[in-house]
């Protein structure tokens, strides 16, 4: 699917769509409708997730899922307010996301609910609770 086809497919489940070119688009949704987008994509044969990115934007942490819709790359953003950093796991739909979600949990403190193996991935087991290295607060503290 190219970007326009992907946009037409998911438009009712997302708030806004920015088409960069035929092979790249960004879309923003919310965590209630995220499952619908995933189901729609899965239904159209999308199987590959390139990775998950977490970005600290100050008040919100943006979780970005990067799906390969062959050839279009869909970057689906889910903003989560910092006082409620919880999101459902997507490993039921995309088992390949298992490590990326562990990465997201330890680096940005997003709680991925229903994750089959929520242990630390890169950080040592004795890393202090509540310290998230990719948060803005942490950057200020470690300067």
């Amino acid at each position: 699917m190219d970007s326009h086809e992907v946009a037409a497919l998911i438009k009712k489940h997302v708030n806004d769509i920015r088409i960069v070119n035929d092979r790249c688009l960004f879309a923003t949704s919310d965590k209630q409708r995220c499952g619908d987008v995933l189901l729609t994509l899965k239904g159209r044969g999308v199987t590959h997730i390139s990775t998950i990115t977490g970005v600290d934007r100050g008040d919100v942490v943006e979780v970005i899922y990067h799906f390969d819709c062959r050839p279009a790359q869909l970057n689906l953003k889910i903003p989560l307010p910092k006082d409620d950093l919880r999101i459902l796991t997507i490993t039921d739909f995309f088992p390949g996301a298992i490590l990326y979600e562990r990465d997201l949990m330890e680096m940005l403190g997003v709680k991925v609910e229903g994750h089959p193996d929520p242990r630390k991935l890169f950080l040592p087991d004795d890393w202090p609770e509540g310290e998230y290295p990719l948060r803005k607060e942490w950057r200020e503290k470690s300067k």
């Binding site: 390139s50 990775t51 990115t53 970005v55 970005i64 790359q73 991935l121």
Partner: protein
């Protein structure tokens, strides 16, 4: 009763440390668990504390073997953010150096794979031939490994006309030896005995766990970012996406060897069709707020960068997903059901960009007694 076989976190045969915990029942592996992070250097955070120019050098140091593809991906992403297009000649030079990098990476893989199965003559031969490509890289970029060729807006060094005959001559030698290795890989009894039906990744699992690169292609998944989402000069270059069906160690090796021939073809074509003109455009590095993703096909598979700019000369966030990280999820299905003696070659069949171990501790979970065996000893178990 099951035993736990921890492997790692140090092993001199591989480049970086990593830790694997194998659960075995007799000789059979029943479960595997990985602990990453022994080589975690906080580079994503470091990238967002340095300016765009410094980051070229930092991204080059994420991986030694595939440093050019890292800087290319990074530079292409920043070029997209800044809204500039590098000159055509620069795109071709990037493609040439990236393909030479792929050849060197795959030959390096072949050498170590041969060593893992006890075929040290092939190891020496493969690494001898790898020197041809290292010499070519040095001639073009000035560096055998770290080429420092890429910059935002193009490349820093041109491929000179007087270099072309030497490159073509080097490619001819590489082509001859690669054809010999392909023949050997398909006929040698040692290789066939040690590589076929081992560490099989089925097509279903490769798709399910989002495998990338030669690992996926060896399991009959036709994926290659150079063809699926062409970047730089790849739109204009013709090549075949190599696939094999078996999904075992042999198929993974064969895919890599056949890819060397395709890379040689790409370099020849690029040298022939490379347009003249400048190799670099100047870019203002005060980049307005924006975000972009960039994907390339590294020797090990899809390399992914996400960059968000914020109007300054420093990026707000850089996310890097290397191909080996993408392939970890598939590991379990390759190991489970295999034997302890297969661990070295199956692990190497992923072409992992991390360290493994120097010694293995066998823990008897019933008596809690431990016994340390060396990697060499583990390798000899097969005999």
């Amino acid at each position: 009763m099951t035993f736990v076989v921890p492997i790692g976190p140090q092993h001199p045969a591989l480049k970086e440390p990593e830790f694997f915990r194998f659960e075995v029942k007799g000789e059979e592996i029943v479960d595997v668990d990985i602990h990453l992070g022994y080589a975690h250097r906080g580079i994503e955070e470091a990238l967002s504390r340095r300016n765009y120019k410094h980051n070229i050098y930092l991204s080059e140091r994420i991986c030694g073997i595939c440093n050019v593809v890292h800087t290319t991906t990074y530079c292409q992403a920043v070029e997209q953010l800044a809204g500039v297009e590098p000159p055509e000649r620069a795109k071709y030079i990037r493609a040439i150096i990236m393909e030479l990098e792929r050849i060197h990476s795959h030959l390096l893989w072949l050498g170590i794979a041969a060593h893992q199965i006890g075929f040290n003559t092939l190891f020496m031969l493969a690494w001898r031939d790898r020197e041809y490509v290292m010499d070519l890289r040095e001639m073009i970029s000035g560096g055998r490994v770290h080429s420092a060729t890429n910059t935002i807006g193009g490349v820093r060094r041109d491929v000179k006309t007087e270099h072309v005959p030497t490159i073509l001559h080097g490619l001819e030698k590489l082509e001859q030896s690669t054809k010999y290795y392909i023949n050997l890989f398909g006929s040698d009894r040692t290789i066939l005995a040690r590589c076929t039906n081992l560490g099989v990744l089925s097509k279903k699992d490769a798709i399910k766990f989002c495998a990338v690169g030669p690992l996926a292609r060896a399991s009959d998944v036709k994926t290659d970012i150079r063809r699926d989402d062409p970047y730089g000069a790849y739109d204009a270059l013709s090549f075949n996406v190599v696939i094999e069906r078996e999904g075992d160690v042999w198929a993974k090796g064969m895919v890599r060897l056949r890819e060397i021939l395709e890379s040689i073809r790409i370099v020849r074509q690029a040298l022939k069709e490379m347009p003249g003109g400048p190799i670099r455009t100047r870019v203002s590095l005060q980049i307005p707020p924006n975000e972009t993703v960039e994907r390339t096909e590294a020797p090990r598979g899809e390399l992914f960068y996400y960059i968000r700019s914020n109007g300054t000369d420093t990026p707000e966030r850089v996310r890097v997903r290397t191909p080996t990280y993408g392939n970890f999820a598939s590991m379990k299905s390759m190991f489970v059901g295999g034997t302890v003696a297969e661990i070295p070659i199956v692990m190497w069949s992923i072409d992992p960009c991390f360290g493994c171990n120097d010694r293995v501790t066998l823990v008897d979970s019933r008596t809690d007694k431990t016994r340390v065996v060396s990697f060499d000893e583990l390798r000899r178990w097969r005999k």
